[in-house]
Amino acid sequence: MKISVIITLKKDVLDPQGKVIHQTLDGMGFEGINEVRQGKYFEIDTNESDKKKAEAKVEEMCKKLLANLVIEDFKIIGSQ
């Protein structure tokens, strides 16, 4: 089973890279952008075939390594 997870900075954490991307998009003429936040995306392919068990395992991975919960949130966005 393949689990997809995204990791984003928490709302109150400054994202200077997102800001620079925002400014660049403005400079390129893309109008009406309120904010850009940058994050990370992981695909984790496991042997586990039970969706609940696979997601629980990935959740543990996020808490222990993939995300730093002081500054980041994680969200499992797909399992197939």
């Binding site: 954490v13 400054l14 200077p16 890279q17 620079v20 390594l65 993939l66 730093n68 002081v70 500054i71």
Partner: protein, 227 residues
């Protein structure tokens, strides 16, 4: 006094630290990250560099390496652990120190001499130190200290701030903050003050011909305090 410097894949200040520790009287051993046991040590140092290529987050992989279990046990038993630069990042990722080091505010790698002010001298690292303000070197891309509101309150309540970025006279202000660090924090302790993490490199200031001697003052004082 016995010290151990841990070398991770990608560490590059480990030998500088070895030279500095030996110069001031430590019997130092270099320990590989894949080792399991720490030799008898009065001080364990996590050096600067780019462990694991800074993949995922700086210090995140190194904090899970084999030797870190022993370092954690050593620290939890009151052992002195010092992390410099990437070593500081490893200590926050390991949970031995609170908070996290974010990318520098203006997205630049900063490599320059700065002044830092010691905030708390009631510990083995700064006790009886003649200096209050040190000229140290910083070289980092992720040195912007950050933590939650609850954590910063606890840090201040327990007097855990070790070093502030300051000007030459010890004034702590926005102009002297190179990277956007919360409250100008350049280094912090754990609650018990046996673990310290700092972004500046004292080991780069041990030779007047090359740099300066504020690091010499730091190391001389440190070994005396540990005796």
């Amino acid at each position: 006094m016995h010290s151990s410097v841990i070398t991770f894949p990608g560490s590059n200040c480990d030998r500088d630290m070895d030279v500095a520790l030996k110069k001031f009287g430590f019997k130092n051993k270099m320990i590989w990250h894949d080792d399991v046991e720490l030799p008898k040590s009065d001080l364990v140092v996590l050096p600067g560099g780019f462990s694991y290529g800074d993949y995922l987050r700086c210090g995140s992989m190194a904090s899970k390496s084999k030797i870190m279990k022993s370092v954690l046990n050593f620290a939890q038993g009151g052992g002195k652990v010092m992390g410099v630069c990437n070593g500081f990042q490893i200590l926050v990722e390991s949970g031995l120190l609170p908070g996290v080091l974010l990318r520098n505010k203006y997205l630049e790698f900063i490599c320059k001499n700065v002044f830092v002010k010691a905030n708390n001298k009631d510990n083995s690292y700064f006790k009886d130190d003649k200096k209050d303000v040190y000229k140290f070197h910083i070289a980092h891309n992720e040195g912007n200290y950050f933590c939650s509101n609850e954590q910063i309150k606890e840090i201040n309540d327990n007097n855990q701030i070790a070093l502030f970025y300051s000007d030459e006279n010890g004034n702590v202000n926005e102009q002297s903050n190179p990277n956007g660090s919360l409250q100008n924090i350049a280094g912090i302790f754990n609650k018990q003050k046996n673990v310290i993490g700092m972004m500046p490199h004292p080991e780069r200031m041990i030779d007047p011909a090359l740099s300066g001697e504020d690091g010499s003052i730091f190391f001389e004082n440190l070994i005396n305090n540990l005796k």
